[in-house]
């Protein structure tokens, strides 16, 4: 019996990337909302709501990048140079916000600086990730096992749109997270931001979705040709249903539903992207099987991944469970 190791690994890495986007998404979103919450006590409360979990969330990014290097070295070797500038900007943004988490509590005088580092770094990282996503959707030219495009190919009107879309989308995740975790003034503001971000996110999802088929024929065929449309139509229909649930739950001042609905929106968009990309790992030049390393590499790492990932997931779930309920500015949680 032979396993299709490249396929298994593609699924695992897709899962790691999705885990990263929805987990780090809400704590980046909290950073994006920082400038709109001027009071120090509110900011403390916001930061405390993600403090216990943020670095665990960010580790999925290393897992995704490291996994790509180990399992699909050709894809890693093509995508990284192609997205050179947005990736560097993203890394710098993540460095800023990462140290801001540590240092903001260590100083009184310098606190405003770390506040800016946290907000700026979060926004920059989100925007860069959105641009990277747009560049991937546009497709990456490959020749002779190397990136064959120019240095500025990632910068197009489309990728700027996806950049803005991801910033707004993360702000939605951040705002609905705060609705779930915060109380009083912070929660009241979070409701308002969540409403704005929800409308913005859905509008931007619509804009990106309408634009995409005109970028390349392959998307047109995937999404709009008969009979594939029977398979792909559920995705936009589900997005519409989720949007309805999201807006309704915000109007009814629910606490957890808006966050779950926002997560569902992200998962649906991710599935939509997957439909557009499959079977390519570098859209639309290198397939999963072309990019995969030898089975000896994939199998060796799979043993460790299958042993450790469930434990990591269990721990992650457990720590979210422990820190469930409301947060306050003193860093405590209670429920």
């Amino acid at each position: 019996m032979t396993l299709d190791l490249p396929f298994i690994w593609a699924a695992l890495i897709a899962f790691a990337v999705l885990a990263y986007v929805i987990l780090d998404g809400f704590d980046l979103g909290v950073g994006i909302l920082f400038p709109f919450m001027p009071h120090r006590k509110h900011r403390d409360e916001m930061m405390n709501s993600v403090a216990p979990v943020w670095d665990g969330n960010e580790t999925w990014l290393v897992l995704g990048g490291g996994g790509l290097f180990a399992v699909f070295p050709l894809a890693y070797a093509v995508i990284m140079p192609a997205l050179y500038a947005p990736l560097i900007v993203m890394l710098l943004g993540l460095i800023f916000r990462g140290v801001a988490f540590e240092f903001r509590w260590k100083t009184e005088r310098g606190r405003f600086l770390w506040d800016w580092a946290f907000a700026g770094g979060s926004t920059l990282a989100a925007f860069a990730q959105g641009i990277a996503l747009g560049a991937l959707v546009q497709g990456i030219p490959v020749a002779d096992r190397a990136y064959a495009g120019g240095w500025w190919d990632w910068l197009t009107p489309f990728s700027l749109l996806t950049g803005v879309a991801l910033v707004v989308g993360y702000a939605l995740l951040g705002a609905t997270w705060l609705v779930y975790k915060a109380e009083g003034e912070v929660q009241a503001r979070a409701y308002r931001f969540a409403m704005l971000a929800a409308i913005g996110t859905v509008a931007l999802i619509g804009a990106v979705s309408l634009w995409t088929p005109f970028l390349r024929d392959i998307y047109m065929q995937r999404w709009l040709a008969w009979p594939q449309i029977l398979y792909t139509a559920p995705v936009p229909l589900l997005v519409a249903a989720t949007t309805f649930v999201l807006l309704k739950s915000l109007r009814e001042k629910r606490e957890l539903s808006p966050f779950l609905a926002s997560l569902a929106l992200f998962v649906l968009c991710f599935v939509g992207l997957g439909i557009g990309f499959y079977p390519y790992i570098v859209p639309h030049s290198v397939t999963i099987w072309d990019a995969a390393g030898p089975d000896a590499s994939l199998g060796f790492l799979l043993i460790g991944a299958l042993a450790l990932l469930p434990l990591i997931l269990a721990y992650t779930a457990y720590s979210y469970w422990v820190f469930r309920g409301k947060v306050n500015a003193k860093g405590g949680h209670y429920h």
């Binding site: 290097f69 721990y315 720590s319």
Partner: protein
């Protein structure tokens, strides 16, 4: 220097980011074990001062570990951005080793770091001590995988090359336990221990200079000096063994370290000089006849190969390697001297009445980092012109990149690293400047609880809420 050369800029960028990065893991590896030792002593003796010390260094560990994680994320993406050809060709072998590092480090962080930082009145001393041990073990695991990957680049084996030009693993056991790995691992772990001991010793010395009766400062200083006295000489022996292993597998590197351009039977030991790669000689040299052969071959007239045996394009740059090696050895000799001197003071019962020794120990505080960096420069620059020794050159490894892109990102990294890690180092020093508070517990009250992992219900009660 030609700053329009993408390859050179990519190399500088890697050297810069990895040099910044290694400082934090080196410190974390040693500090995690030191924390485990302190906690073990506290459990064993019941003396409160060990617990105070544990809580003191725990906060420092949290900051250092955080900076190590953040600077490590950059490393995991840099292979792809600047060294894409290397990534494609070597990924199947090195990638899984690094993948295991991420998995094991992630597991440790998610599972045990939180408990360790939390303080033990929440989970009970036994579980807490277990967590501290696991954090220390996790730092070992990280070092194990990363050094295995790095060693394979120096002494590759257990692989084949496929038609696409990729290295593919044939025998993982051979890949992981490649010839230079055991020596490199031992050398680096000991280096991390000594580095941390010197920082702890300098902190103890600082507090002794302020208050010679401070019991916590006495313990710190004494423990650190035991470490210097015992482990620094052992490190010299391990380093020598590592050097002999290098002579066997990378003779050109040794020739560059020793400044030997000609092959000798009965080579001198060149103490100082300025290697001149272009003219193939060492200027202004001070040498001891025949000692070089004796050290390397244990025979006064043993044959030692010089750089002229290799074509010019296959020689590492001797000037850098020659000097970085001497800086490392010089720092090591100073550490041994400090350790032995404190042994003498112990014997004379004047360890806690020796302000000049304390000042010396304070000055020696950063010397471990200097030695670690110099050692890495020696081995990595000495690997040139190869990334995978004898099989793939550095010039072949680089991405098809634009010098402007690499240059811009290099400037950005330099500015950001100096600003942020400068601030981080400042906070670390400020933490070490504080005296060890007796009977204090926990992180400052106004800080949030930061943990991923097991945080049982009592935490919640402690944290100011009722579950």
């Amino acid at each position: 220097m030609d700053f329009s050369d993408a390859l050179l800029l990519a190399r500088i960028q890697f050297a810069f980011t990895v040099s910044f990065h290694i400082i934090f893991p080196a410190f974390s590896i040693g500090l995690a074990s030191y924390l485990a030792t302190l906690e073990g002593l506290w459990l064993w003796t019941g003396r409160r001062v060990f617990l105070d010390l544990f809580n003191y260094w725990k906060k420092i560990f949290a900051v250092a570990f955080g900076m190590g994680v953040v600077s490590g994320i950059v490393m995991s993406y840099q292979f792809g951005t600047n060294w894409s050809v290397f990534s494609d060709k070597v990924g199947p072998v090195i990638g899984p080793l690094m993948g295991y590092e991420v998995l094991s480090a992630f597991f440790l962080e998610a599972g045990f770091l939180g408990i360790m930082l939390f303080g033990l009145n929440r989970v009970g001393p036994r579980l807490h001590f277990f967590a501290t041990l696991m954090v220390a073990f996790g730092t070992f695991l990280s070092a194990f995988w990363i050094l295995s990957a790095n060693s394979w680049m120096h002494t590759p084996q257990g692989h084949a090359i496929n038609e696409a030009g990729q290295f593919i693993p044939v025998d993982w056991w051979q890949v992981i336990f490649n010839p230079s790995f055991p020596y490199r691992l031992a050398h680096m772990l000991l280096a991390a221990y000594i580095t941390t001991a010197l920082v702890v010793g300098a902190t103890g010395a600082l507090h002794l200079l302020r208050d010679r009766a401070d019991p916590a400062a006495r313990i710190m200083f004494s423990m650190a000096m035991w470490m210097a006295a015992i482990v620094a000489p052992i490190q010299a022996v391990v380093g020598d063994m590592h050097g002999l292993n290098t002579l066997k597998h990378q003779p050109a590197k040794i020739a560059a370290m020793e400044g030997h351009f000609d092959t000798y039977e009965g080579a001198p030991l060149i103490l100082f000089g300025i290697p001149n790669d272009r003219e193939e000689r060492v200027d202004y040299k001070v040498e001891i006849p025949r000692l070089g052969s004796f050290i390397l071959t244990h025979d006064w007239s043993g044959k030692v190969r010089g750089l002229k045996e290799w074509p010019r394009e296959q020689r590492p740059p001797s000037r850098i390697v020659f000097w970085s090696f001497r800086i490392m050895v010089g720092a090591g000799l100073l550490m041994i001297a400090l350790g032995l001197w404190t042994l003498l003071l112990r014997w004379r019962r004047t360890l806690y009445d020796a302000p000049w020794t304390w000042r010396a120990a304070l000055l020696m505080g950063p010397s471990g980092f200097v030695a670690v960096l110099a050692g890495w420069i020696t081995t990595e620059v000495g690997r040139q012109p190869w990334t995978v020794y004898g099989l793939l050159t550095t010039a072949q490894s680089v991405s098809p990149i634009d010098a402007a892109a690499v240059g811009t990102s290099l400037v950005a990294f330099i500015v950001v690293y100096f600003a942020l890690f400068g601030a981080g180092t400042f906070y670390l020093l400020r933490l070490m400047y504080k005296q060890v508070a007796a009977g204090a517990d926990e992180l400052p009250r106004d800080e949030p609880i930061r943990a991923a992992g097991i945080t049982p219900a009592p935490v919640m009660r402690e944290a100011g809420g009722a579950p």
